[in-house]
Structure formats: structure tokens, C-alpha cells
Symmetry: C2
């Protein structure tokens, strides 16, 4: 007898699981229910719909061959029944049925199932502050909310916007509002950096600086205490100020929608996500779950992680579909890859950031390389910043992050490492990583290989580094500390600095260092500096050899200082 | 006592090994010798120098911070002695010295060594045909040859050019001559496809077609028998014709320069390359070798392979430098990654092509996916073609290839797979590969994941495919065969084909198939077709379920036919 499969949720994972099942087992009867009227849309496209890159919300709901994925499509092309506008109220696991209710008519019904799939997704975290219910306050949680937000912007009444939350959605929305609509936008972030928990402070600073230059304001370490306004929102009050605004977007993350599962007595994690095994089964083997409502294993730490991403949902959906059809597919876990594009630069990462690695108990160090993304003689190129986090004792690679203007090039480097993270690579694997080489795409020694080499030199103690934020500290206290900044670049590069800071900035080009040794101060700490950190490393090696060892090498060099906003000269 | 290290060859691997050694062991005395006057240049940049993208040959010889890597640079910045214009004549392994000769003066000398590095590189294969020594015949083997070639082109006397060899250099040179200099260029290739041994016939055809559209002529399965001309070359004679030309570029590959090693009695492979272990030591443990003159293990087949690439040389150079300094670095072998950019499209690959896999004894199948490289709703996107080669019995991934207009996006996909090939991944690893996702970079189900899924469906027997070249055969014989081409796309797409070929082309959109089953011919072989192969696969599943199983699904669909040049409508 054909099996009955019910799928609760019809946005990303639900349709994927249902369609995969039907291809493998065309006899099965599949019913999807969703409380919304719009289904099977690319939710990650919402910021591009807001910006206008995507003009019609239907585009997010279409297949690549321009068929609208609505009820009719699933019925005719996929042989799947869809009940929209229908809420799943509860699961009766004994009777194996789902109680559903039509949201408009209130009519209730029971759907019997042999297997059930929970694809209930996530909901935006809310803020419990006064004024949150004022008109003009939005969360970009689903298509209908996005349509309402865009209508408000398009009405022309929005001159100023405030975004609460400096994460992915916050940044994407900041670009959409500023770049396409000319709205003066301020992002308020509660922690001391944007993209907290995802990238290092160094990377975050580079992205923030770039976004500021594009016109977005930031308030870090700041909390919106209340929203003010009469008929609609007019201001946001923080500890320090009141920020005038016509629009507020709340983008403080999402949390798993696991109420239905919890009520049914399924195992729920401390984070509130549905627990699943690597076949994506919940604690009830007849009930599968995946996507934004579940946790999966982090392949670096071995502990559960939460990855609300459309790409995860799609891959997990296929695993569920295969297993529903009697197969035995597994979802191995995640390394937490991501990329976000903001005003022409892209920041991408996989694995653990340095802060997270240390928080997870790793004795971790971080290597930074700034290098051209193509052969340096190729005309069309730009500097890329890559940072790798490694375990000191073992040389194991824990994570990688990158920022660059060639977005595909940046994400390509991250993906090359993301792909191998589950195999527990060491630094040597990165030094020897075999990337396809040609001058329009990379240097003969690709930046990734250079990153492995740099990490190797750091762990060997040959490259003793200084991060930009520590440089910043040292620089601000340069009068109090016994420190000299030794510029290893050619004279023309160093001269303006020497002129501005004669007491602290000294110029000896690296290739003159051997013959000008007597000029090197021996009683002070030396901060070695060049454009990107390559020649200053070379200088450090020479100085070591000559017995001057109280030196450190500014990782990323002047290129990194500039990106940070520390333009000293 | 400090060790003496002699390095023969100062282009890519030699300098890398020497500099790495000096950083780890500054005491050592290092001497590099090179028979040329120009050293340490990026040879892979030569086609870009010819095209004019790189205007000055010195750019190929500079560091990224614009220092010329000449003798003075190595002396002052690196503490390395360089003897240019100096040929290494022979090695006396008993006395541990290298006999050298100044090319200009003929003066000879003996350089004692504790360790020796052979970085003798490769030389262009030559053609033993009449006329090969005529003026106007070039091999792009080194900087001085490239400079001479460019001078000739810049003289304005070259209207027509002939390139012998349809490999990487041949294609890059074809672009340089056609695109930047407006020279009518013909490529003669002895095999039946361009990039033979590197990509499938399918991929080769796509690249060839694109290059033809940009104005380059091809003669495949053709051999230049002799070159004609009076004072300079004027024509190339093949079996079929005489091709007028003012310039001939011979680009028929390179072969290892291993004479010095052979004379010294070191182990040489059947290919003529120096044999090394994974520490890059030759059969004499005091002599290291790397770069274009050695073979290394192919990590897919386990047998030796030859990879004359600047990127390999750089990575191997570092391994040698570390080992010279007493370390124990290893070079694991290669998977043969490459990329080449031709007229705005890029073709990249890693591992084995389908032909090579079969030649190596694998029972291999090939899966092809044509899909947008970004989210299909993102405005700026293009179709990418990816092909994966897998072993039928085990599902092991043997290789991947791709063509696309977003070069970094294409090479990024290839690199993600190249990186894991040494871990012997299976199809499931590709289906679950965790690439960083965001609409400007990929679809939620990335083309790589889709490729894994397609391969999975092929091996499961659910997706029975037809390749474009087999389609081509079937199409040309459509009157003789009992075959119907069933178009599964929407009516507007199918109609022009139905009109042109009413006997053979039938239109039933995939979503109407279930209700129009009686229209499906049951006595003929069905070739199922859609735009990219997704809906036709879906149709195949439906037909299977209804008992119609003599069907095959055109991989890559009409999109692939068009790229191939088979525009039927």
C-alpha cells in the first residue's frame, strides 16, 4: 500500500524533501501544509527584493525555468498536494495524524501519516522593548512582511532608517536601503563588532569601515532601549542618544520554530531546536525534521550547532526525501560556511573564528595574509585578506575567513578550505592545496598556499606577529612604550611616515637591512612593517639571525591598517 | 660549518627553494645558476605579455611590491648569489661539484655543493618538419623568445598567424593574437578535440565553439607536414591544404629538461622526467629536484604524472627549501588542477577526464549539469556547465570539469572539489558539500551539489542519460532510427522545433505529462529534452513509473546543444 507522507512547512526543506520522495517513490501520497499563502520561495532573496534587484516577489517563488512554484505547480508537475493558509495545530503520535486548521475559515481536519516531516523553519527573534509594535517597525521574516516593508519604502516617506542588529540580514538590508533607495541608515549592534560570532574583530572592522565609507552609520556596543513615535515610529532611544528614524528593521537573528515538535514530546535541544540524528530523524523515527528548526553537529567541535540557511535546508531535504523512500542517506553535519556581499566587497568564512575557537577551548592562533587575488602582473586585480585559525599544538585548521572585492574569488578560497574541514586538515594541507592556476585567477603561490605557509612560520616561531588591533593599542601608547616602528618598505613609501613621526618611525628597506644593521635600535621593541607583512617577515628573520629578537611583524601591513581606517601618514 | 647549496635554474622553483632555505637557515651559502640572462619571471604570464595586458617584460620579473627580481635583488634582499648566463655542464656526484660555463666567455668553473637542487625546468617540444627553422616560426619557451615574438607582431607585418597545438598555450596565444592584435589566427590540432587529455570532448567542443565565435579558426585531426616560405614563413602545408601565414607559433607541449640529471646517473622516468620521492629527493639523497623537470604521483591513479605548472613549482620549491634546512616537508602529489581563460570564458578541471579515466582502467561514467552559477532570481548570472567523472561501482569521484563565463565562480567550484580529491570522496560528499551560500554567489542548491545529486541518480539507474555527442549521432540518423524527441519544456519553447521537425519532435510539457500519457509514443525510443536536463529527468521518472522505460535524458538539454553549436530550431 502506498505510504502517506505529511510535510509541515512548504518553504525550502519541505518542498525539497517532498519532491525527492516523489521521484524515488511515485506511489506515495504526499501532502504539504503551510500556514502562509506564499510558499516555496527563496527567503534569502528578500534583501534583493527590498533593494529592487529582484523586482517582483514572484521571481523568488519561480523555478529557474520561470514556473511559479504554487499549489498548482506542485499538483501538476510534482503530484504533491499542498494546503496553504493551513496551520498544523498538533501531532497525535499514537494515532499518527496531524491536526490542521484553515487559517481563514477555522475549519479543522486530521491528516493521517505514515511518515511526517517537520519543516517548520525559524521565526525572527523579537525585542521586548516599548514601541516595538509601532507602525513602521518590521522584521524581514517572510515574503508578506517583505512586501509590506518594500511598499512602505516605495511610498517615499522613508528618509531615515534604523536597523537593529549588525548580522548578515542587518548588513544586507543596510546596503539595500542605502544604495538603492538613498535612505540614511544606521545600524545598532549590541556587541563591540559587526557579524559577532562569525568573523574576527579584524575582519569585522574591515567590513564595517567599508560599509561606513558607503554611507551607513554604525552604533556598536549600543542597545535600543525603546522606540518612540505617535502614529508611527519616529525615533529609537539608546543609552546615549535618540536616533531619529522613519523605519525600523529588527534583524537580531532567528530562532527555531519547534513548538509543534515540543508539544508532541519530541526531543528539543537547550537552544530550542529539534534534535535529529544524521538521518534527520527526530526522537520519533517516523518523524523527520530539517532546515531552520533543527540543530546539526558542528564538524569542527563535534557539538550541536544551529545553521539557519537555505542551502542547508535544501541538502537536508534531499536526505530526508531519500530516507522517506526507504533509502539510507546521511547528513554529516556542518562547518558553518557563509558569505555575505556588502557594497561590492564580500566577506566569507567557514569553521571557527578566532574568538569562537578560544571560547570552545582551543589553544588557537590566527594567521593573516594580504595578497593579490590574481597574479600580481595581471591587470585586473585587488588585494584579498584571508585569515586562518589553527590549533597551536597540532597545526589543525579550525577555520578560515576572508574579505575581498572579487567576490567569487574570495568565496572560492573559503569554499576550497570549507570542503576539506571535515577531514581535519593541518596547515601543511593548506600549504600544499592544489588550486587551479592561471594568472587571471591566482598567483603561482596562491594566497591560500601563502596563508598555510604563514601559519606554518607562526607556529614554528619564525614569524612572531602583531595584529592590527594590538598595533592600534601600541600606536596610541607609543609615547609611553619603548617601541620603534621599523618600516621595511622602499624609501618613498616610508618617508611620509618618518616625516610625521620622527621619534617613532624609522625607515630601513628590507634589502638594505644587512648593510645598515648598526642603525637598528637594539634597546627597544621593534614593530616591523611593510605593505602586506611579507618583507617585514623577511626582516624579522634577518634580525633574528643577527641577534635582535624583540621584534614583531605587523600582519597584513600597511594595507591592513588602511582597510581598518588607521591611515597614519 | 655552513652548508653550500647550489641551485641549477632560477626561474620558479629554484628561487623559491633558495629563499625558503635562507629564511630557515640564514648561515647557508646559496648559489643559483641559470643559462639565461632573465631570471625569476612568471613564465605563465607570457601570453599576457604577448597580448599587451602586461606591457613590459620586467613586470613578469617583479615582486608584488615592484622590485625587479634580478641578481642584485637576490644578493641584497635574499643574500643569495646568482650566476646568470651560466650553463651547468655536468655534475660530479663523487666530488660533489657542478661544472659550470659562462655562456659568453666560455670560462669554466666548478661549484662545490653539500646539497644540490635541480630546477632545470622544461623545454618546448619541437616538430621535426621541413621549414621549422624559417624566420617567423616561434616557440613561446622563455622570456627572450616571447620578446622576439612580440616585436615581430608589433612591427605590423603579421596579418595571419598559425598556431600548432590546441592546448592551453595554444588557446591563450590564439586569444592574444586575435583579440588584441586583430590577427587572423588558425589553430591546427592533431587530435580530434582541443585540450586533448584534459577535458571531455563535450567541454572541448563548448570551448572551441566559443573561440570560433570570437574569430579563431580551427583545424582538428590535422597535422602540419611542412612549413613553406622564402626568407620567412609564408605557409603551412597539411594533408588537405596550404594555410597562408605570416607567423607560426609552435605550442605542442613541453618536455622535462632532464639531461643534466641523466648524465649524472640519476633515476629518470620513462617519460624522461627526473624521479623524486615525496621529499622531492632524486635517487641521490643529496640532490633535490622539482618543477617542470620532475614527475610526481597522481593522487587519483597512484601512478606518476607530469604537471609543468608554475604553481606546482612554487609549492615544491618550498618543500625543498624546508628539507634543505633540515626539515621534513612532503609534497603529497597532484590531482592535476588547471584553469584557462579564453575570450571571456574559463575552462577548469581537476582529476581525470572521462576519456583518461577509462584509459586508466576505471569503469567510469560522467554526469553533466547546466545550471545558473548564482541564485536564478539574482540579476547578474549565467549558465555554468559542470561535468563530474565517477567510478560506477564505488561512486568514487575521479574528476571534475567546468566551463563558465563567471571565471572565478567556475574555478571556485573546481577548486572546492580539487581540494578534497586526495581524500577519495564519493558522490555523497559532493551532494553534501557545504559551500558558502548567498544569492549573489550560488543557488540554495549549488550547481556542485546538484552535480552530486545527478551523479547519484545516474548510478541509481533513475537518470539514464544521453550525451550531446551521442545526441548528435542520433539526430543525424533520426530518419533511420525509431526515435522520437520529446520536448518537456513549456509550449512556447518547444513549438519552433515541432514546426521544423514534425515527424521527430513532440511537445508535452513535463507538468502535463501525467494527464497526456496516451499521447506518448510507446513503440519508439524516446529522447527526453528540456532546457538543462532537469525537467526531462523528472519526465523520465514519471514515464518509468507508468511503464515507458525506453527513454534517455539529454544531459545539459537545449542549453548544451546551443553551446555545442547544434542550434536545431
Amino acid at each position: 500500500m502506498p505510504q502517506n507522507v505529511v510535510v509541515v512547512g512548504a518553504v525550502a526543506l519541505g518542498p525539497k524533501a517532498a519532491c525527492r520522495l516523489k521521484r524515488l517513490d511515485p506511489e506515495s501520497n504526499v501532502t504539504m501544509v503551510d500556514k502562509d499563502t506564499l510558499i516555496s520561495y527563496g527567503g534569502c532573496g528578500i534583501p534583493y527584493f527590498i533593494s529592487g534587484d529582484v523586482s517582483d516577489p514572484a521571481q523568488l517563488q519561480e523555478t529557474s525555468f520561470h514556473m511559479l512554484r504554487d499549489e498548482k505547480f506542485f499538483r501538476e508537475a510534482k503530484d504533491i498536494d499542498v494546503l496553504t493558509n493551513t496551520q498544523a495545530l498538533s501531532i497525535d503520535r499514537d494515532k499518527k495524524q496531524v491536526l490542521i486548521e484553515n487559517v481563514s475559515s477555522g475549519k479543522r481536519d486530521a491528516l493521517p501519516y505514515d511518515k511526517l516531516v517537520l519543516a517548520t523553519g525559524s521565526r525572527p527573534r523579537t525585542l521586548e522593548i516599548p514601541g516595538i509594535d509601532l507602525e513602521g517597525v518590521f522584521a524581514v521574516s517572510n515574503m508578506n512582511a517583505a512586501i509590506a516593508l518594500k511598499e512602505r519604502i516605495a511610498s517615499g516617506k522613508v528618509d531615515k532608517a534604523l536597523i537593529i542588529g549588525g548580522g548578515f540580514i542587518g548588513l544586507e538590508m543596510a546596503e539595500a536601503l542605502t544604495d538603492m533607495w538613498g535612505i540614511e541608515t544606521t545600524v545598532v549592534e549590541i556587541t563591540d563588532q559587526i557579524l559577532p560570532g562569525f568573523v574576527s574583530r579584524n575582519m569585522a572592522k574591515i567590513v564595517q569601515r567599508h560599509t561606513e565609507e558607503a554611507g551607513v552609520n554604525f552604533r556598536l556596543e549600543e542597545r535600543v532601549q525603546r522606540l518612540e513615535g505617535h502614529e508611527k515610529v519616529e525615533g529609537a532611544v539608546t543609552r546615549k542618544e535618540t536616533i531619529e528614524t522613519d523605519l525600523v528593521v529588527v534583524a537580531v537573528g532567528v530562532e527555531p520554530n519547534s513548538d509543534l515538535a515540543r508539544q508532541a514530546g519530541l526531543e528539543i535541544s537547550s537552544r530550542g531546536a529539534i534534535s535529529v540524528n544524521n538521518r534527520m530523524q527526530t526522537s520519533d523515527p517516523d518523524i523527520y525534521a530539517g532546515g531552520d528548526c533543527v540543530e546539526v553537529v558542528n564538524l569542527i567541535t563535534g557539538t550541536p550547532g544551529y545553521y539557519p540557511l537555505g542551502s542547508m535546508a535544501n541538502r537536508q531535504g534531499r536526505v530526508i526525501g531519500t530516507n522517506l523512500a526507504g533509502g539510507s542517506a546521511e547528513f554529516p553535519g556542518a562547518v558553518g560556511s557563509f558569505v555575505v556581499k556588502v557594497f561590492g566587497i564580500s566577506v566569507a568564512a567557514a569553521g571557527l573564528s578566532i574568538d569562537v575557537a578560544r571560547r570552545e577551548g582551543f589553544d588557537a592562533v590566527s594567521a593573516l595574509v594580504v595578497q593579490f587575488d590574481r597574479a600580481h602582473f595581471y591587470p585586473d586585480k585587488d588585494l584579498m585578506h584571508l585569515e586562518m585559525v589553527v590549533e597551536r599544538r597540532t597545526g589543525r585548521v579550525l577555520g578560515i575567513q576572508g574579505v575581498g572585492s572579487m567576490g567569487d574569488g574570495t568565496v572560492g578560497r573559503i569554499n576550497a578550505v570549507a570542503s576539506i574541514l571535515k577531514y581535519k586538515p593541518t596547515i601543511e594541507d593548506i600549504s600544499n592545496l592544489e588550486l587551479a592556476y592561471s594568472p587571471p585567477f591566482s598567483a603561482a603561490m596562491d594566497i591560500l598556499n601563502a596563508l598555510g605557509n604563514t601559519a606554518d612560520n607562526i607556529l614554528a616561531g619564525n614569524n612572531r606577529t602583531l595584529d592590527v588591533d594590538d598595533f592600534d593599542e601600541l600606536w596610541r601608547n607609543r609615547d609611553k612604550e619603548d617601541v620603534v616602528f621599523l618600516d621595511c618598505r622602499g624609501r618613498p613609501n616610508a618617508e611620509p611616515f618618518v616625516k610625521s613621526y620622527p621619534l617613532h618611525w624609522k625607515s630601513i628597506p628590507q634589502d638594505e637591512l644587512r648593510v645598515r644593521m648598526e642603525e637598528v635600535p637594539r634597546d627597544k621593541k621593534l614593530v616591523l612593517i611593510c605593505n602586506t607583512g611579507v618583507r617585514s617577515y623577511e626582516a624579522q628573520v634577518i634580525l633574528d639571525h643577527l641577534g635582535i629578537q624583540d621584534t614583531c611583524n605587523l600582519q597584513g601591513g600597511v594595507a591592513c591598517l588602511k582597510k581598518w581606517g588607521l591611515d597614519l601618514a
